[in-house]
Amino acid sequence: MSELLFFSLLNGIVTGLLLFMLASGLTLIFSMMGVLNFAHASFYMLGAYFAYTISLYVGFWLGLILAPLLVGVLGALVERYGLRYVHRWGHVAELIFTFGLAFLIEEVVQFIWGKETKAYHEPEILQFSLFTFFGQDFPAYKAFMLLVSIAIFIVLLLILTRSRIGLIIQAAITHPNMTAMLGHNVPLVFMGVFGVGCALAGLAGVIAGPALGTFPGMAVVLGSIVFVIVVVGGLGSLTGAFVASLLIGLLQTFAIALDYSVSDLLAVLNISVDAESALRDLWALSLPQVAPILPYLLLVLILIFRPTGLFGKRET
Amino acid sequence: MTSAIALKGVVKSFGPTQIIRGVDLDIRQGERHAIIGPNGAGKSTLFHLISGRYTLTGGSVHLKGEEISNLPPYEIYRKGLSRSFQVTNLFPQMSVFENVRCGLMWVKNYRYSFWHLVDRERDLNRRVMEVLEEIGLANRQHVPAGVLTYAEQRALEIGIAAAGGADVIMLDEPTAGMSHSETDQAISLIRKVTEGRTLVMVEHDMGVVFDLADRISVLVYGEIIATDTPENIRNNKAVQEAYLGAEAEHA
């Protein structure tokens, strides 16, 4: 049991921090620029594929540097030549745009790399098990993941608190002209921030690729979980996103690890139920089963009782 | 007779700062009452408190003898108090016509009906046209409110507030940002639409105030320092101190 708990804790943290790498980018793009960027996970996927291709020629480490940069540039271009126009037509338009974009990216990826899972592997030096506990290995690569995402957190936090960038974005969203007339180069800021956001997503992809597999569906399986994190954490709050990521990471892993079901609960309260009723699924319902929905349950509850999210200040 | 609006010891604080510090005020039925005072004195806040936009920290508000403290805005409106806003506050995408019609729907008792067809309601639409005539926007009825010029929007603002025929109407700086000619039109419009009703208004343009108001209250830092007829207010030293300054001579 203790083995299970210990490793679930580790896995939870790993998953959480991985999610955070994605969320960090979306915090910039969604909770600051207010762009409902449904293509975020797609940039994450691009990161993985770019890195894969690069690593074929110059190895993992250069991929780790170059791929995110590439994705960032790509993101910046998307902002410059796409979103910037669409922005005028409001959030829904932006949403549809990114929607279409996600569609496109997935197609293009299949177009270029095909549909099979790519054999994109951890670098040799990280392919050992950092420690073995209860005879179970903990891959060094995961430790590496932890470090990177914590680094991201700290760096971003510094940038956002030390500079006015956050303020400028916030101002520019509602009053672009006024902000410009105070001498701030609004378009540049937007392009930059969006680019950085995408680069972060790309970085997440580079790192997740070897761990979670590099295949055309990798964006889709993430689904909207990243939005959940940003919203639960609270719009505009990086710390919030960080905490929420961990929370959800742990929530999911532990739910899978702990095999309890409603009937167990009832058994404890020694209530007996007939196993064939239409509600039988309810009695059979077990934690691992509901694992995938817990984040969304959390989301809904949070929004009902604390619409600003855990750390957020504003609602919209 | 009961007063139209009666404030008793009304207090409002935002966090630590107290903005309204115990206001008692009686506004008589049918009078035109102006509230003046320095910027940030709390005039708009007072409006918000009466109309239910903010909740009271303390004290009570009565409308025609009935307590309305802390009711939601729509409840208060239904009891016959209607207001306009300092910053124009319309339904930008909807046509001028629709704006006014929405302003009429509740009082005309349609509530949340989804079994009437608004276009079929002859007298509703007739009334809307009347209002549009009054505020002089009849020829702009199809234009989305959002594209009206500033002055037109102010007029519509007043129109919506007055359309429902509520018997207490509150206007927050109705003539702000208008030129002299526009202001004059606004004044006569306000006269027309508030005929026989109670009017409460905030205004910095002394011309307008002294022209329209039967009585004036002066609000300074959350307290009413005087309530009186225009003449007495103008000659009230305290008021000149706190508010009018040299303006007194000009006006």
Binding site: F7, V14, F215, P216, V220, V221, L222, I256, Q289, P292 | -
Partner: protein, 391 residues
Amino acid sequence: AEKIKIAFIDPLSGPFAATGTNGLQQFIYAADELVNKKGGVLGGREFEIVPLDNKVSPKESLVQLKRAIGDGIHYVVQGNSSGVANALTDAISKHNRRNPDSRVILLNYSAVDPALTNEKCSYWHFRFDAGADIKMNALTDAIKNNSNIKKVYIIGQDYSFGKAVASSAIQFLGEKRPDIEIVGNELHPIGKVKDFTPYATKIRASGADAVITGNWGADMVGLGKAIGETGLDVPIYTYYAANDGITKTIGEGGKNRIRLVHEGPVNPPSNDVYKAYHTGFKAKNPDKDVSQFRIVNVIQMLAKAMEQAGSEKPIEVAKQLEGMEFTTLHGEKVVMRSDDHQLIQPIHISVHTNENITFDSDNSGYGMRTESTIAAADTALPTTCKMERPE
């Protein structure tokens, strides 16, 4: 002459696209090589495979079925997901009842939920892959002989097939090795799991010394990887842990650990005919494999049935397929059992390795080498199927 269209309804996009596209290429190749190049059927009529993407969704499949029927297609091949197969069988039976003049036949090459040849069986459904229970019967034979297996963990995708695997595993283990303890029986959502590590941890913690899974596509890749990473070194008995990128990703980690139950022996190749076929396929599709030999049987047996019937009318062809005896490229004798339309064929158990592999998978150097074989006759299991036959 006018081509005979065969609708291929399987995932060409989404998490199982790889499995689907590979199947498609194998059908196209088989049709060309074994039918069209040999002068077609019924006097020169060629087979044309019409790919229709269903994203492994039952609903989407019915949409595609309607389209196929709309284009006057009478033959549907499908395999990926028994969920889909169940829906299709049901829909096709309905359709055939309502439109006796434009009937449709479902040739199922991979959906192995036993229900399809038992309670849900239909006259219009023919299965060329061995049912999940048949395969489990074979797997458990292998487990039976491995005496140091004491604890088994069963994990699978949460749908009819996954459930079928689990239940038959429990049943057969119960019969053959009552001493074995089932330390875990887990179902996870199909195609939605991002990271299998938590499951792997759980398996590891359960102290299992063997794992049984029916996972396929992305779900097998993920599971394989995750188990590898926890350093869990126990045999894994699988249905589909090969090709489609799976072999490549598992690589060294799975050597001599992963076992797979399947039809059609690849390594060592049975005979030159097959060698030639396989080589030919690789030449045309370098990055794909002959991962589902049954596809060849589908095409050949369909062709044969048409020739015997002397017509492409489904009703006639079905009559011929029923009970058809056939010798495959491998030279194996197979028969389409009439009472449930389950193809009775030899079953092989192979191991994931890179030693004396003639045809590797995913060009990874690793491949499946046959360890044991169960003769066709011995695979046959009783069926409860009572199908209503037309007129």
